[in-house]
């Protein structure tokens, strides 16, 4: 499957099938820090991903100044 990572943007080819949780573990990514999107739909950590899937792992952690 094609896996898109961000910040910095890069693409990996990873063999499926696997689960979201196993994929994140393999990439050493904390599931709390990302969303996993298949096509244009969010998937939960127990979802099975097929070899033909296009997956985006989108970071959700932002930080910087605190304006309030």
């Amino acid at each position: 499957m094609k896996v898109l990572l961000r910040n910095p943007r890069r693409e990996l080819e990873i063999e499926g099938p696997t689960t979201v949780l196993a994929l994140l573990k393999r990439l050493e990514i904390n599931p709390e820090s990302v969303l996993v999107i298949r096509g244009d739909t969010l998937v939960t950590r127990d979802a099975r991903l097929a070899d033909a899937d296009d997956i985006e792992i989108r970071p959700v952690i932002s930080g910087g100044s605190n304006p309030a």
Partner: protein
């Protein structure tokens, strides 16, 4: 996983609630969490006029969307900070969203209106850029609310932001900051009321809300924030959260329920004792210029010679005191 509310296939799990939701029920969950925060902390009157601080990122655009959905007369304020392409993209995302929704957006361009930008300010002050950025945004959001007659400013600080700020302030026992860390800062002389309606929602939930609602937010991170302490605190807290779901909420809401009151008196006294800036009239602890006007004086016309970021901070280490912890107040 199945949706806890309707039993349909879930698209997102929220482990601190021991729940998963389908798209529709997740949107309902987000609205309910905002309604509960607004109610519990007495943030807003029904349908009240609110100025929302928007950056083009997930939290601020989701907040604007949620407040409108809940019936508030919410307008946006975007502040251009002159951080190269990042600022260009963040403005594009904000303007596109406001235009698509047909909602009113105020804009301030720091460079055009005040003669400096954040990279220049970081270079001039030899401090981390996030400090100059936060200081400028706090001053300008407050000023814009007072100038345009908005009784309340709403910011997109979420549960993760607040827990990370709390961790930073506790690590240094910053009692003044701890006294000001609250989802509501009341109106006082020279200050508009400030509220944080997303305090019951994590940033993973806000990103999911945007994906589900088709809100095209800017995923790219600010290049000047990379590697800062605040992100480090979030990493640590997410490590705890993965091991023990609910840790971040327990940490923050435990403080708000049982710790905040012990620090609030000191913060209130500090606010009462503030004077007026001779340049802009804003409240200040200084008898002369407020922090924003001092920053403006030092940074006007200064161009940063190189891209500033964590590298800059590393280079300065040893020559300057450590950057101040993030203030939630």
């Amino acid at each position: 996983m199945k949706c806890r509310r309707c039993g349909q296939p879930a698209v997102i799990d929220v482990r601190r609630h021991n729940a998963a939701f389908c798209a529709d029920c997740f949107v309902h969950h987000c609205r309910e969490q905002v309604k509960r925060a607004v109610h519990d902390f007495d943030m807003l009157e029904p349908g009240q006029r609110v100025l929302v601080a928007v950056s083009g990122g997930k939290d601020s655009l989701a907040l604007w969307h949620l407040l409108r959905e809940l019936g508030y007369e919410a307008d946006g304020l975007y502040i251009g900070q002159g951080i190269g392409e990042y600022s260009d993209h963040s403005r594009d995302a904000t303007v596109a969203f406001a235009d698509a929704q047909g909602w009113k957006l105020h804009e301030i361009d720091i460079r055009g209106q005040y003669g400096f930008d954040i990279p220049g300010a970081a270079f001039a002050t030899k401090r981390a850029p996030c400090g100059s950025c936060g200081l400028s945004k706090r001053h300008l959001f407050n000023k814009a609310a007072l100038d345009h007659g908005y009784p309340v400013v709403a910011t997109g600080h979420n549960l993760d932001d607040e827990a990370a700020v709390l961790l930073g302030n506790v690590l240094r026992w910053e009692t003044g900051y701890l006294g000001r860390q609250h989802p509501v800062l009341p109106e006082s002389r020279g200050f508009a009321r400030k509220v944080k309606p997303l305090v019951r929602l994590g940033e993973r939930e806000m990103a999911a809300y945007c994906v589900i609602q088709g809100i095209d937010y800017m995923v790219e991170e600010c290049p000047m924030a990379a590697g800062n302490k605040h992100l480090g605190y979030k990493d640590m807290l997410n490590g705890l959260e993965e091991q023990s779901p609910g840790s971040k909420a327990a940490f923050l809401f435990g403080f708000l329920e049982r710790g905040h009151e012990h620090f609030a008196v000191e913060a209130g006294e500090e606010r009462e004792a503030l004077g007026e800036c001779r340049e802009c009239g804003s409240p200040t602890s200084n008898d002369d210029l407020c922090a924003f006007c001092r920053l403006r004086e030092r940074a006007q016309g200064v161009d940063a010679p190189v891209e500033l970021g964590p590298t800059r901070r590393r280079r300065n280490r040893g020559r300057h005191s450590p950057s101040r912890p993030t203030s939630a107040g």
